[in-house]
Symmetry: C2
């Protein structure tokens, strides 16, 4: 049935339209049902039905989000509403839960219904659970990566090779790309880095970069910026590349999970879409990182490399230390501050600088700019000399940000709480998980200014009363919430050399 | 933060409140976030946050549903909105997905957060997946049943013993209870039958009964009705007994799943809540029933009996034939018509009458009213003599329905499509699954008048052009949808005696 469109400012955090109860009855719809919303031009999306008598009969209330998701340039006069039949993807998801290997066609059906929003949280959660329990083999992951890429934009470059560096995440404070990318780009290497927002972490690279410059760029803008300044730090979600991934990530975020086949396909699908030829994957490894042991890291690395071969993307993998946060800040604005400060000073926290230059070095060697074994030295030179900082300013400007922004200009949460050491000793452990849950309770990543500043790192010697860490929040409520979480999950262990006396 | 309450008619099909964007910013909330809504009296529920500028600052729009869920008698002047911290249930659900046995406390945490709506579709779906993959042992299921019961109302009876009959479902057209309960009650046995609405089927007993009389009864009303007329056919969901079950069923419905531990706990928790002492479980078994083989049925039966022992509910199990629909109708109003007609005439489709009287007979024997082996004969007498029909009229009247309602008074879908045999032969198979998906596509169980009438049953001899089945729908769109599903999943197989010629 066709409905007259009225734009109404309402946001349920979901794809939804609002109808009058009488109209709903006519076409057999109930609140909470799903229906396809179809434009005259044939664009369609599956929407949740909200019902109120306030909508006139014959009309449908839509918000800007749904028009955007349907990629309609202007508000259409009419939209058709068609009750959605049974999902074709659901039986396939169940077959995966019971251990079946999926065919290319089955995988495409799932991805298609994810994009159309025909399947939502409940089904995507079951898909995640199925992948957590039964996994996928490499051909399945290849098909998943390709289906995710093919249902979105694919960027074609007028030149090559195109490089990329990508961390699988899982270690807090990992603002490394904000240093690696400008170093690499400062040598003329083309590196269009896209990243997602935080899934289970306190800040994704896109969240961090967004505090410095817009990250929602179009494919054309990306090509233009890279042609001009060699590097970019963009949010993948704005590009409509592998859009299914961004939708599924929302459910993964709710569940705080990241099943391995989705982790692999999420990254590799975006690399296909971005036209990447040479890829460096960073696998942070250590206690309470996403990957805890070296064996596991090596097994995952092998999968990336094999998957790269199947997808014709030359892939190298760096396993890095992820047993405590990188640098001293966690949260979007705080991390951007730290990265910018390091670039401007040619100096910064050891873990951050060491990691960023090591990764850049591998790419410089791969590109033949540095001789084998000399990449890191060359990268450090570019970092210390200010060459990388100049490149970062160019990138910020090209993306539409202010190149002269100072670290102290970035607004961080006004509501703060400093925690001090209750005894003297050595910092023997900083818990990634506790740090992330405190930062998230404080509002990160949605509240850009929320997060944590670490005053110590593992190995530091502290005296009773020394500052250990500080929580930043944008509201008093969030601060209180974070304090509760901090007390329940104390993140920093301080111990004397004498641990216990027996007998 | 406290907000002034404004009641606004909006239904997103979910527990949600609407706030102004500036207020949201103040307390660190975003569209799609969750927050606890707390009344001055301390009643609380976790709600989805919807955002629109149309709400004045300082105000919160709530709908009647949320006030009802919070069990507030009148509209409060103020409600507090508190951002929800991390879920405590989620890590427990993940541990179940990875194969862990859950403790009583862990199970209670899950059930508590289900009831508070702190966890929703995504988490409940993961819980269902975890149970489908890893199951639960009997002590876990006992703890689950008890947690589900204890977080809701528990009915106490001034007399006993209290009987009940309960089908695990899975066979379409199973309106049996509408005949079994009045037979049993007509002998003075107390049988307060509660049932849920359809999960994955086209009609639950509550959906069917609701077309004859109100099924949303309070605990007091149930006790009053049973004291007066011995039997009742009520919807469990209205009673606030084991409320977690009704919430989880919504997700199970979306996913069309019914994991065994939840199936067991769903039924047994409600029996605890209802104060049942003697229970008869019906396990329909056959091709495309919930349970397909006799071995599986017996294994499930043993679990019910053992669980009954742990819960001190004396439990017997009847395994019944479920390889094709019971009777000739599927869908709430159509099934009520058939049951009422059978009671009024003392006659009806063989499968329906045979099953209903067999179940009633077992209870009559258990209660010592019939000698062993004589129960069914006594039940048939009550059915044929009109004694059961008189009792059913009393029950309908006691529940607030019209006792003189005639089967033909029940409104069924006006939009119909009759399908005929394309060849002559025998009906060798009627597919439960196809029948259910067609009836659901036609709008059942939400559209009460939607469903299917079977003109044939397995074994019948048909000629080309004879009517096979008819779809009923309440709207043209739903009818078209159901016709498409019927063509794709043809439900009735007609074959000649000669199946194939070789050589």
């Amino acid at each position: 049935m066709k409905f007259r469109v009225e734009v109404f400012d309402i946001d349920s955090g979901d794809i939804s339209v609002v109808l009058n109860p009488y109209d709903c009855e006519k076409i057999g719809l109930h609140p909470g049902d799903f229906a396809y919303i179809v434009s005259t031009g044939g664009r369609r999306i599956c929407s949740l039905i909200i019902v109120t008598k306030n909508v006139p009969e014959g009309a449908v209330w839509v918000n800007k989000r749904i028009l955007q998701e349907m990629k309609l340039e202007s508000v259409p006069e009419f939209l058709e509403v068609i009750p959605a039949g049974p999902s074709a993807a659901l039986p396939i998801i169940k077959s995966k839960l019971s251990g079946k290997k999926l065919s290319k066609g089955e995988i495409r059906t799932i991805i298609k219904e994810v994009i159309e929003r025909r399947i939502r949280d409940a089904e995507i959660s079951m898909f995640c659970s199925a992948l957590m329990v039964n996994g996928m083999d490499l051909p399945e992951i290849r098909d998943l990566s390709m289906a995710m890429a093919e249902f979105g934009e694919i960027i074609e470059w007028p030149y090559g090779p195109i490089y990329d560096v990508h961390s699988i995440g899982g270690v807090p404070g990992n603002k490394t790309a904000l240093i690696t990318v400008p170093i690499v780009a400062s040598f003329g290497i083309k590196i269009p880095k896209t990243s997602s927002r935080a899934i289970t972490s306190a800040a994704g690279t896109a969240d961090v970069m967004e505090t410095l410059a817009p990250v929602s760029l179009s494919p054309d803008e990306i090509v233009e910026i890279v042609t001009k300044v060699n590097g970019v730090l963009a949010w993948g979600g704005a590009l409509n590349i592998a859009p299914a991934d961004d939708i599924m990530i929302e459910t993964e975020r709710v569940l705080s999970v990241d099943p391995e086949p989705l982790l692999l396909a999420s990254i590799m699908s975006k690399k296909i879409s971005m036209g990447i030829n040479k890829l460096l994957i960073d696998i942070p490894t250590g206690t309470e990182a996403k990957i805890e042991g070296l064996d596991e890291a090596e097994s995952l690395a092998t999968k990336f490399i094999e998957l790269g071969k199947l997808l014709e993307i030359h892939t190298r993998v760096a396993i890095t230390y992820g047993g405590q946060p990188i640098g001293r800040t966690i949260g979007p604005a705080l991390e951007a501050q730290e990265a910018l400060e390091a670039l401007a000073n040619g100096d910064g926290p050891g873990s951050l600088v060491h990691k960023a230059t090591a990764l850049a070095g591998i790419i410089l060697e791969e590109a033949g700019i540095a001789s084998p074994g000399q990449g890191k030295t060359l990268a450090i030179e570019a970092f210390k000399s200010g060459k990388a900082y100049e490149k970062m300013k160019e990138i910020i400007e090209a993306q539409g940000g202010d190149p002269n922004i100072k670290p102290e200009d970035l607004p961080v949460g006004e509501y703060k709480e400093l925690f001090r050491a209750t005894s003297s000793g050595y910092v023997t452990h900083i818990s990634n998980k506790a740090i992330v849950s405190i930062a998230r309770a404080a509002g990160a990543p949605k509240d850009k200014g929320a997060g944590i500043r670490l005053h110590v790192k593992a190995g530091d010697n502290v005296k009773q009363g020394d500052p250990l860490f500080e929580i930043y929040a944008e509201s008093e409520e969030r601060l209180s919430e974070a304090i509760i979480v901090a007390r329940r999950n104390w993140p920093i262990r301080v111990e004397g050399m004498l641990l216990k006396v027996l007998g």
